[in-house]
Symmetry: C2
Subunit: 476 residues, 2 copies
């Protein structure tokens, strides 16, 4: 679930076998209860069990759109489908009408079959979303219909309706937009727990934040600035330096043109107190050697494994070969700490997560942290959204909105740069509900929204039609 | 320098070669400047360089007793010798008249050649002591003659006079005895940095303290009690349970008759937040598996390597074979942290150490921590003192005093249990200067002081005579 995270490589080939035993191993790991839509029309028909035919028409008429990973591979493997049947709520659960969803690195890994925390396809991805409570199960006392909430889950949130344990939700504070609320949970909880639990960050310390323009990177930088006189080294490509500097990075480093180890040593010859490592492989070795005595290396992903749209076996093997292994005697002689973090493996610890979230929301209310939205995309555009993130073209969070895509956009041919102004207006209309986000960030976001969209539009239209036909068949 | 610490096994056979390059590698690692006494009379004569003959008689007449490790092996390898020649002070250094010295596990490892932070014999061991400043070098502004200080060093403090950088000393607070002051630095700094830097100990957490009746164990337990509602599991043999329970251990576990992992799981099925591991080998594996998510394993020694008076190659090999090595992917999937700590490798970080010491002394002044002295021994009795610690018969700290051994004690045959009362009185007299330590603990300490002493007495007397003769020869 962690922002820059990756599936542990050692289990990548074992995902399917493992799936079978997972429910028994991890009773708490309940995904949202809305059924995943099957990959094909035929399968979709089969997905509604016999019982469905006995349901009252109202329940059967209940449909909602959902993104479904139909098989491992490229961006086109995540398809927009329509699920049907009103979900039932168990005790402790709530039903949420989803407004916005966050994209995370682990979603990209999952699409390639590199993330063992998501069941095998067909399955709905998505670890975080925001929305409005529209039904409440028995024994739920702290959520009511109409509450605006953020949701955390192992997978399954990229759809219009989700059913989740109330304990996996957090009330959205006054004035926070749904986009911000969808951007916050995974990145900020990850950054917070790494910095303040494992990292034990204190005044005057120095830290290296890789991918400082990514979701976790921006969250970590903001959280570092809540502690006095922390020096933040942040890697990012040069075009992102202005933004991350404004966000609090003391020393931006262009990792594409410079050796970040050398750059850090120039300024901090003794090394660093904390290093956040989302990369894995040989970068973990570098990080370990760059630690000061009493330094802490916190590794939370293997993004180096992710090279290209589809699974790159060479990248996976290389990462695996260079994977870091540490001997306790080396730790003793170096007075060093090596920590591993991954929110996706922490779902049994909702108490710890809720504590972290409470602290984060306090900081949000004080204006000390605020998600930086890179761009917002319609569900139909998920492929482009994933591409933007995977190709590292984002600054901050990539968000999906469940808002229907305007008909004119669907029918239009792909817009290019010359149509920017027109599209900007469209986007502005959609953004009317973002009363408070305002300012600079939003303007940047709007610009970004213009870039994506299209290409898959026609394909989507075809699918929509195909689905309607299938839906008709089912009704028969 | 860490209390329960051990030399890293991988370097044990390389100690001698390494020694040659050490000064260049570690300019800050200056041992106290008083010259180590050589192993034999002949060598001792050679140790006074030609320049010595040009010194004024007063300086040449300056002698002091020193314990010297004359070769790797059993308890008898540490011998009491007389060093001569007044040390010279460089800028930033002070000369301290030593009152009491602390014994640490690393000293035991060093005697067997298992600790690479001490030069090869002949060399004076000793990582901590207390005493009175009797000379001050140039540029020293924060220490003056007459100040009572604690001293930390990589080795070389088991002698009556030491010259050390002023920055490696700490002022003894009002009312603290020299014994307590000699007991405090290594154990408390080790425990403090492990718990509050790496461990990030917080209210309601649970912790396993191995060797809970040892110096670091008692310090760690006391420090845990400064945090609200911390549950302390402590291993110790059954006879020590009453003491450690009174000291704050919530659940004492007799590791000799019970499986500590099972015992912990009975009470904390999910495992523990922090585990302090001075043992190494297979116990580190057990500790890792016993961690909760977000748990921290802090390993700070390989005491399992220490089996018997002399180096036990089987124990060393076994420890080495079982030595723990961890893969980052396992850390990520477990959300775990593995840290290594060893004060002996941290000497370049006096700022961090001083910060920790300041906090510890604040807690001392508030009455929240206080060293527990197991027993105090004369320099002549160092063999017995080491034996007591190595055979795990101590509860708390084993201390050496530089106070001269009363003549009657030297001439007496070894006293046994029946002479307890008489010896108690002797000890009481010596303890008159401990005005404040008082109470229960001191009474226990007195009892313990009766047990040791003797056996090597006669040998020591012979040595003293031999040395006097050698000294005479030198004067000629």
């Amino acid at each position: 679930m962690s922002g820059e995270d990756a599936a542990p490589a050692e289990q990548q080939n074992a995902v399917e076998q493992k799936q079978e035993t997972k429910p028994a191993e991890e009773p708490k790991a309940e995904p949202p209860k809305t059924e995943p839509a099957p990959a094909s029309g035929a399968a979709e028909a089969a997905a509604s069990p016999a019982a469905a035919t006995e349901k009252v028409p109202e329940e059967e008429a209940f449909t909602y759109r959902a993104l479904v990973l139909t098989g491992y591979g490229g961006y086109d493997k995540v398809k927009l489908q329509v699920k049907k049947g009103k979900p039932t709520l168990k005790a402790g659960e709530i039903q949420v009408r989803v407004k916005a969803c966050g994209l995370n690195f682990a979603d990209l890994m999952a699409r390639q079959g590199l993330y063992d925390r998501m069941p095998s396809p067909p399955v709905t991805p998505g670890m975080e979303c925001s929305g409005v409570v529209e039904a409440v199960g028995e024994e739920v006392t702290d959520r009511k219909v109409g509450d605006k909430v953020m949701v955390l889950s192992r997978f399954g949130l990229w759809q219009e309706v989700v059913v989740v344990p109330a304990s996996h939700t957090f009330l959205i504070p006054e004035g926070m937009s749904f986009e911000d609320a969808a951007a916050l949970p995974v990145n900020y909880i990850t950054a917070y727990m790494m910095l303040f639990d494992f990292g034990n960050l204190r005044p005057n310390q120095s830290i290296l934040v890789h991918a400082a323009a990514g979701g976790v990177g921006i969250a970590a930088t903001q959280l570092c600035k809540t502690v006095k006189d922390v020096t933040v080294f942040g890697t990012a490509s040069a075009s992102k330096h202005e933004t991350i500097s404004q966000g609090g990075v003391t020393h931006p480093i262009d990792y594409r043109t410079k050796d970040y180890v050398e750059e850090v040593r120039k300024i901090s010859p003794k090394g660093l107190d904390i290093i956040l490592d989302p990369l894995g492989g040989s970068d973990t070795h570098k990080a370990y050697n760059l630690l000061k005595p009493m330094g802490k290396l916190i590794t939370y992903g293997t993004a180096n494994m992710l090279a290209g749209q589809k699974k790159n076996l060479l990248a996976v093997a290389k990462n695996w070969y260079h994977q870091f292994s540490i001997h306790t005697l080396s730790l003793i002689q170096g007075n060093k700490s090596v920590c591993g973090f991954h929110l996706g493996y922490l779902e049994g610890e909702m108490e710890l997560i809720t504590q972290a979230m409470d602290s984060i929301l306090d900081l949000y209310k004080q204006g000390k942290v605020k998600p930086h939205i890179d761009s917002t995309w319609h569900l139909e555009q998920v492929g482009d959204a994933m591409r933007k993130m995977q190709e590292r073209n984002n600054i901050g969070k990539v968000i999906l909105t469940t808002e229907p895509m305007p008909e004119e956009e669907k029918k239009e041919e792909p817009k290019k740069e010359d149509k920017k102004e027109e599209k900007k207006k469209d986007d502005k209309k959609k953004d009317d509900k973002k009363k408070d986000d305002g300012k600079k960030e939003e303007k940047k976001d709007d610009k970004k929204k213009e870039e994506p969209k299209k290409e898959e539009k026609k394909e989507e239209e075809k699918k929509e039609e195909a689905k309607k036909e299938e839906a008709k068949k089912e009704e028969k």
